[in-house]
Symmetry: C2
Subunit: 344 residues, 2 copies
């Protein structure tokens, strides 16, 4: 049914090798034959067979994307969606297919299996827990692997946003504006970013000689809902600012603050994280930290393709930290009128 290399060769009166060269963009083909072969290929609607290619070349051009199955829990966090979309786009740009692997206990088709069977060339791991057990076999197996986000294991190649630095920057901004009781609505403890952002919060306080008060930290779960609960709980301890670890929770907190007659930013300043679309539309507009999941994805794909192209078991782990931006709007009580960016 579908034509093959050989058939194209016969039809165009050249050898299979030549057709192969044309297909793969090898320069050592005369313009004329190339043009002719190309015409036949188009006419036949020929596509090289994936499996045959994989068998001969040892590569499938499929990348595995491992996403946390707990994605289900991260209901209102669009981070993973954007990340996934970014991975899909970057993979496509680099002529790779994307195989999705939802890390679930009990699954047979783990990323490790996919590698061992030669289904995928490499793995991009986006963890939901700081210390994922699925990671170990991949590291041990000396497999092309890139992690996105904070990871416990130091042997791993990783791409990450500057969670700690940007959080410190945001809180410092609040302190500079005169706030002294800065509260924090953190992420769930199992989430890898939680620790880094909390650390940034604490580092800022410490730099200003302010004692860390656990009562001013509420552990949320990334949902707007939990942002409301957080604000309600924190109000009992009279904060004059709240740094929420994502925009959804900041939005929830704002709703709750307003319903309690608390003015933002006059009584309580508010800062989020993510810079989702609605952040600028909030009333008051939300000061927040912009990260770029698509850039994380792109960087991860490129790093992984590097590793696949030049495997080196002894290469030291590579690490890329992507910058973030503090987007200053009205909710933090900045004197500035218009929205302003303060680069990291």
């Amino acid at each position: 049914m579908a034509s093959t290399l050989g058939r194209i060769a016969d039809l165009s009166g050249v050898s299979k090798s030549t057709v192969s060269r044309v297909v793969n963009g090898d320069t050592r083909v005369s313009p004329d034959t190339r043009k002719h072969v190309l015409a036949v290929i188009t006419a036949e609607g020929y596509r090289p067979n994936f499996s045959a290619r994989g068998l001969a070349s040892g590569r499938t051009n499929i990348l595995a994307a491992v996403m946390p199955a707990a994605m289900t829990n991260l209901a209102s966090d669009p981070y993973f969606r954007q990340l996934l979309l970014g991975l899909a786009r970057s993979a496509d740009t680099h002529d790779q297919f994307l195989m999705l692997s939802l890390a679930q206990p009990g699954f047979k088709h783990t990323p490790e299996e996919a590698i061992r069977q030669g289904v995928v060339d490499g793995v991009i791991f986006s963890i939901a827990t700081f210390d994922d057990p699925q990671l170990e076999p991949l590291i041990e197996g000396d497999i092309p692997l890139v992690c996105i986000g904070p990871v416990a294991d130091r042997r791993v190649n990783r791409v990450d946003a500057d969670n700690r630095g940007s959080s410190k920057q945001a809180v410092t901004h609040l302190l500079r504006l005169g706030r002294r009781r800065v509260a924090h609505i953190s992420g769930p403890s199992y989430s890898p970013v939680t620790a880094d952002r909390l650390a940034g919060y604490r580092a800022a306080l410490e730099a200003w000689g302010i004692t860390y008060d656990p009562a001013l930290v509420f552990e949320g779960d990334f949902t707007e809902r939990s942002g409301r609960s957080g604000a309600r709980a924190l109000l009992r301890h009279n904060p004059d600012a709240i740094f929420a670890t994502n925009d959804a929770m900041a939005s929830g907190a704002l709703t709750e603050l307003i319903s309690h007659g608390v003015s933002v930013p006059d009584d309580v300043a508010l800062v989020g994280f993510d810079d989702l679309e609605f952040a600028a539309e909030m009333d008051p507009p939300l000061t927040t930290i912009r990260q770029d999941p698509a850039a994380l994805a792109e960087t991860a794909v490129e790093l992984l393709l590097d590793l696949i192209a030049e495997p080196d078991p002894n290469a030291p782990p590579r690490r890329v930290v992507l910058p973030t931006e503090l987007i200053v709007r009205a909710s933090c009580g900045s004197r500035s009128d218009a929205s302003k960016r303060e680069s990291e």
Copy 2:
């Protein structure tokens, strides 16, 4: 490096065919040799090569899952997440890999390409728009294809929840309880479920001889946020009930109603769709329609594997409609004390 069939054969002193039979669970192998070969396989950590297998057998055991790129817009709708998780699980159960294809204009690696190159054996299409242009080439190409959700094209195999019937049932339930001004917060018009659920709403009204009033319908976008806007807008037209097309919007509506001093269910009854976890925790607990995305996924995978196993260009399109359940809780103003299910 990695051992091959041949190596295992040599090591166990049998032929490659025998090893192949053992690997593939062929019965025509003596228990003794099977046991022996199995031992060698385990010792060597042997895994059959994916590409070689695909080349020889003509099948890759990879299924393509096409999800709407617009997933980005469906921010707080966990439906796609659950669906994706269900697909991952079902694929794993049936020994299939799952290739993710985010339908994006301009992508080179479309599902059609994946099929033509022999990367995947079949396609599961979960559309975001009722009439997706990506579908046409797949249908024309006579490719193993299953759609999840409402689809315009009648030639396609599909698996779907009973959106229309369950919506009609929910609204009928409200009418039976004496409500007469039942409003509807619908989904966005591009979403395939919107039309079906709206049709169910209208059908219920019609059956009770109530004239359809467009002013009582608000088009939301599945977010809690838009549920709040919807309730605010609808309140101007004095509804005594609101049927929201998903739980997130119902939750938003509830928040808004309460903040306006409107009692639920006394003044306005409320019904959602999805039965997400928080529905039962709401105050009052939300009456809603339970659908089962995991079941949709499972059914779709099985149907697709059927089509792959027995391809028949002339087979009529198959259609499976999965039942839903109306979960009656307090928000609809039912007299019943406890939560109660009314099967479809």
